[in-house]
Subunit: 404 residues, 2 copies
């Protein structure tokens, strides 16, 4: 008899956002007249930028003619896109990354799960708490953890790095040495970030301890303040210890268009084995490229028009973030994030649990957010609001919350 991967049975409940969707669907069915305002899932709402639309239209037209039709894409992505990425995301930041160190994919969620494939099972992982669930869940599914503690929800064998009010939501070095460290700045879910000098300390720590950092920079476009690294490769030595994940979802609204990339520097070695080679092999065996049309859309994000238009979209969302931040502060809430990130991390009032506050907000204000405890035990008594709605809805949601 065949056997399933028993590690799946260690997972706790269903994926956070599926649970939220079910709760909202039930509420909506019971209250069909209510206008639900959604600041929960981190999904964008603005349409794709005109430069992106134009590029896709052209690419669709190319697919209609034999002379310009494209079949299988080159492993790792088209050179036109990889060159644009190198130039605008790396060289312009002083980071010398080559096109053969960039692997184009269908998005950062896939990559942040799949990257585990190239590492051994015996590696000890470290994740922030709270954390984007995908890093942790995919390691549970892969077999790198023990069982979850029924009380705390924490998995045996995982090193948790609490990000709390006390430490300003910046993780401290753990007492046990991890092999793989997941970091995400600007952070999902807290909306907080880390200075370049603090990040340099993590790079130095990884170099000294022989760890590898999986650095998720999906929210880089939201950085507004100086002194914050836009890529980990701004830090000295990072090419020897860090893999960077990037996405087009939040900077250019590609959540339903699907495009991302992963940087695996050639200097990143484990003994005499190149991680760049391993990832190239993984991708050429288990992935067949992002659609041509979507890669052309990605290229257009880097055009002069595309950069201006997508920057305006980010500005629009950051105006929402300011609206949430200012509104809730004025109403007496304790709030974090929202300055260099599209997420606001709100402390629940009156010692409510995160899910109590979720129900409270849904039932009393028809506003949907994300319970902080869904991101880990240290997220308990917190609540995530996103800035990805329309300005009108965001403003209305803030007013409803403040009037509770």
């Amino acid at each position: 008899m065949f056997q399933i991967n028993e590690n799946y049975l260690k997972l706790q409940g269903s994926y956070l956002f599926s649970t939220i969707a079910s709760k909202v669907a039930a509420y909506s069915a019971a209250n069909p007249q209510k206008d639900i305002l959604r600041l929960g899932i981190g999904d964008v709402t603005l349409p794709l930028a005109p430069a992106v639309i134009d590029a896709m239209k052209n690419a669709v037209e190319e697919m209609a003619h034999p002379e310009t039709f494209r079949g299988y894409a080159p492993d790792g992505g088209y050179e036109f896109l990889r060159r644009a990425i190198c130039e605008h995301d790396y060289r312009s930041r002083g980071a010398d990354i080559g096109t053969d160190e960039i692997f184009v994919s269908d998005g950062a969620k896939s990559d942040s799960g799949n990257i585990g494939d190239i590492f051994g099972m015996q590696n000890r992982i470290a994740v922030c708490d709270p954390v984007y669930p995908v890093y942790l869940d995919t390691n549970v599914m892969g077999g790198r953890t023990g069982l979850a503690d029924p009380l705390t929800g924490r998995y045996e064998g995982v090193i948790y790095l609490p990000c709390t009010e006390e430490n300003g939501f910046v993780p401290q070095f753990p007492s046990e040495r991890p092999d793989i460290i997941y970091l995400c700045f600007p952070n999902n879910p807290t909306g907080m970030t880390i200075s370049k000098s603090e990040l340099q300390k993590w790079v130095d720590y990884a170099l000294n301890s022989g760890s590898v950092i999986i650095y998720d920079a999906a929210y880089e476009a939201y950085i507004r303040e100086d002194g914050i690294a836009h890529t980990i490769y701004e830090c000295e030595g990072a090419k020897k210890c860090a893999i960077e994940l990037r996405s087009f979802s939040k900077n250019a609204g590609f959540t339903g268009t699907r495009l991302g990339f992963t940087v695996v520097p050639k200097q990143l070695m484990c003994g005499d084995v190149s991680l760049n080679d391993l990832w190239a092999r993984r991708q050429s065996t288990k992935f067949n490229g992002a659609p041509y049309i979507v890669q052309r859309a990605g290229e257009a994000v880097y055009s002069e028009e595309g950069r201006r238009q997508t920057r305006e979209q980010v500005d629009y969302y950051m105006r929402n973030a300011a609206c949430i931040l200012d509104g809730l502060k004025a109403a007496g809430y304790t709030v974090y994030g929202g300055v260099n990130a599209p997420y606001i991390w709100l402390k629940t009032p009156g010692q409510m649990t995160s899910w109590e506050f979720f129900d409270h907000l849904l039932e009393r204000a028809a506003v949907v957010g994300t319970p902080g405890s869904g991101f880990g035990p240290a997220g308990e008594h917190f609540f995530r609001l996103t800035a990805f709605g329309s300005y009108e809805n965001t403003k209305a949601a803030v007013e409803r919350i403040c009037s509770l």
Copy 2:
């Protein structure tokens, strides 16, 4: 110090098609004046059908406006596409598959690699020999095999099912019981297939032995003869033992557009664990949906126009297959396949090895094919030609081969 996944080091050489690409690139650089005819990689050449192009243009336009913009797609794919799949690929064949048993993805290559995630490491796998390399390589990478025998290239712990001239390229039941059986009909690389009654025997075998069948039906659209199952769910009991992989690459030319799906029936259980639940969890955690635009393109494949237009494309390629088959037979070659599949499986002349014949064809005729031995030891002394070129190039290639 972090550790890599040592299983990757068991892999032999690089991925078959990367090796071919390098050889062709070297030849091309050395012989810039030569017009290389490519019947190697199974990549389509006809442009996307007009109905598909129209659907994509409309979808791109939708992404340009806030009222019609789409963000994250629902887990497993949009209902409009899953409904079309159910209707045209299953109910019309008498197979009662529900929309919640269909999981839309970015293609069958990803799915055929990723499906291993939900099975335990201790499962014994069986693959045909020769075989599409992805089934085997992904199991090696995942750790379900031992080392490769340096002489035969066969991995320890894998049950090989030889498909040879002697057995008409139909695998026989193995003497050892496998847990997971990979089958692909019509077959890549041999171009041969199996009757529905023979397939029913494999379903019965799996049910009796507690095995699960991973059934790759990517070439279903090329079936021309009666008595061949278009889906494994035409066989009685298959919903209790089989997962089916499907692709839009070959029936509708989506190799560079990327769309596929996997069927995991709700009746497929391992004890009290539903494989449908496990795959749903895998996909919702490690994948974020196929692009909206591409899902609309997929839907258009099932429209009346789309079905007619894509059927014409398949007919075009099958005319190529007949041209290769007839031409080579007339020239005295021993050839198989090409009747219900876009692949021709050619016996190399004069006891040449597959790679000797590859070099011979490239150097003497500037024609590229795929060495049979690249698909497994039983593929030695065979060679795969594909029908996916233009008719003119296919005809010219056949003439060049026949004049050698």
